[in-house]
């Protein structure tokens, strides 16, 4: 009698545990990207090294493209059999969520499926840093140059222009995002992108102008003149176009616009520091003014090339 009871309880327990095991949630405790072409997986129990090392047991793909399978080149199992490193033939695009399925991991169980992604906060900071340095809009994307050369003669002007620009950039990018997600996309009006975005930018500039004039006249007196120039800056229209192309969400939009504005401020400030010094230098008459500014900007661009490949998260 007691024997039967135990057996019942045992099978009940099994029924409770098995689905959980079958989904593989308990078996895989941690997973992360390692080197360029590496995914590290930790298990909750010792696993069969033979099954884990068999590359045929793996199916790996990026979440948006389930049809494009990534081939696992080889697998290294740790000595304690509690973790394994998957190596791929090509570097992984770590900005995408990867879906990994391991079949026959533990005998008589379904395949274990899990996703590998970078931490979201790190990804957001990555967008910010990328727009600031790695893909600086002025020095590596060559946008906003007219305003860049026009307002980088004095440090004060550079700071004023940079701050005004960043504010307008963030506000207009967020508005563009709302328009794109909730009006242009649902009604299939994508071809109106350019008209709508440039309209929104002019509107934002006009609004900032009016608000600043009433709320803080002192600030308006120092920054007001730059507002008109903002419209003539290609960066301000490039950011909405980029975020529409990449289907960024709200937080990503905020980070990208902040990075774009901050990057522009940084570029202006660097450039104005050099140009203030150049006033004192003896420059050949043929190079005076704009030509020498171009050469200096070229040297900055060379220096910013050094940031490419920088990865923080």
């Amino acid at each position: 009698m007691k024997n039967i009871m135990t057996r019942h309880i045992f099978s009940l327990l099994l029924l409770l545990i098995l689905p959980g095991l079958a989904m593989g949630q308990d078996l895989v405790t941690a997973k992360s990207f390692g080197a360029d072409n590496e995914i590290i997986v930790s298990f909750s129990q010792a696993v069969d090294p033979g099954a884990v090392a068999n590359t045929a047991n793996y199916t790996v793909y990026e979440e948006p493209d389930p049809d494009i399978r990534l081939q696992v080149e080889f697998v290294v199992v740790a000595a304690d059999q509690m973790s394994a490193s998957l190596f791929f033939s090509e570097p992984l695009n770590t900005t995408q969520t990867h879906v990994v399925t391991i079949a026959n991991l533990v005998p008589a169980q379904g395949p274990a499926t899990f996703t590998v992604a970078k931490s979201y906060l790190g990804y957001l900071v990555g967008i910010l840093v990328s727009a600031l340095l790695i893909n600086n809009f002025v020095f590596t994307k060559y946008l906003g140059l007219c305003v860049f050369f026009g307002t980088s003669k004095r440090k004060d002007t550079a700071k004023g222009m940079g701050f005004t620009f960043t504010i307008v950039m963030v506000v207009s990018a967020i508005m563009s995002w709302f328009f794109y997600q909730y009006i242009l996309k649902p009604f299939d009006l994508n071809f109106l992108q350019i008209v709508v975005f440039i309209g929104l930018v002019s509107l934002t500039v006009q609004a900032v102008d009016t608000v600043l004039r009433k709320v803080n006249p002192a600030l308006f007196n120092s920054f007001g003149v730059y507002l008109v120039l903002v419209i003539a800056n290609c960066v301000i229209i490039a950011v909405p176009l980029i975020l529409a192309d990449n289907e960024y969400n709200f937080l990503e939009t905020f980070m990208l616009s902040l990075g774009a504005g901050g990057g522009f401020l940084l570029a202006l400030y660097l450039m104005s520091s050099v140009r203030e010094r150049m006033d004192l230098a003896n420059i050949p008459p043929t190079f005076k003014g704009v030509p020498i500014a171009f050469i200096v900007a070229g040297q900055f661009a060379l220096a910013f090339l050094g940031f490419s490949g920088l990865q923080i998260f």
């Binding site: 140059l145 007219c146 109106l192 008209v195 002019s202 003539a232 490039a238 980029i242 704009v290 070229g298």
Partner: protein, 204 residues
């Protein structure tokens, strides 16, 4: 306001005296960004020519009904409309060239040169003059882009318009993106040099 310049003078004015890139120093972004080959310069030049001519004519046609206080937004909307047209046309008929130029076709909307020509010329002059001025400015831009593309493609890749000329690649540095700044700066200095030498010769 009457304009005493002939159509031909309007065109040469855009190409030489008021060249958008080398003289007015406007629309520098594409001149640095995608001037790696002559072909790119030609393609973007055609797009800008189209937008410049059509928006000049549009604004010139409606110049009497546009209220001065809302003129800048009106210009922007007119330009944006024509940019949308050329953007869709290029994407449909020349997808390869369109992919190379990337975001710059859409960015024509923010090119200072077009807005400036509308403000300075098209809103005052007749439709006919605005048309020829637009053609001059567009050709001037195209000429500037192709001149930069000529230098960069010849020195960087040893070819012109995609055809191999030199048979070797003298200085690969020139097709690097950041070399655009150097090339534009040096070319401007070169034109300044010619101008200074010309003035000196005139004085002597």
């Amino acid at each position: 306001m009457a304009n005493d310049k002939s159509n031909f003078q309007l065109i040469t004015n855009g190409i030489l005296n008021e060249n958008p890139i080398f003289r007015l120093v406007l629309s520098m972004c594409p001149a640095v960004g995608i001037s790696t080959t002559m072909m790119n310069g030609l393609m973007l030049g055609v797009a800008v020519l189209f937008v410049q001519v059509f928006s000049s004519v549009t604004i010139s046609l409606f110049k009497n009904v546009i209220h001065p206080r809302i003129r800048i937004p009106t210009y922007t909307l007119a330009i944006a409309t024509w940019v949308t047209v050329i953007d869709l046309v290029l994407a449909a008929y020349l997808p390869e060239a369109y992919a190379k130029m990337g975001i710059f076709v859409k960015l024509i909307v923010a090119f200072a040169i077009i807005t400036m020509r509308l403000e300075m010329f098209a809103c005052k002059e007749s439709v006919n003059d605005s048309f020829w001025d637009g053609i001059g400015m567009g050709l001037g831009f195209m000429f500037g882009m192709m001149a930069i593309g000529f230098v960069r493609e010849l020195l960087g890749l040893g070819s012109l318009m995609g055809y191999d000329i030199l048979g070797f690649k003298p200085l690969l540095f020139f097709v690097l993106p950041c070399a655009g700044f150097f090339v534009v700066g040096l070319m401007m200095a070169f034109f300044n040099y010619i101008e200074l030498a010309y003035k000196k010769a005139k004085q002597a």
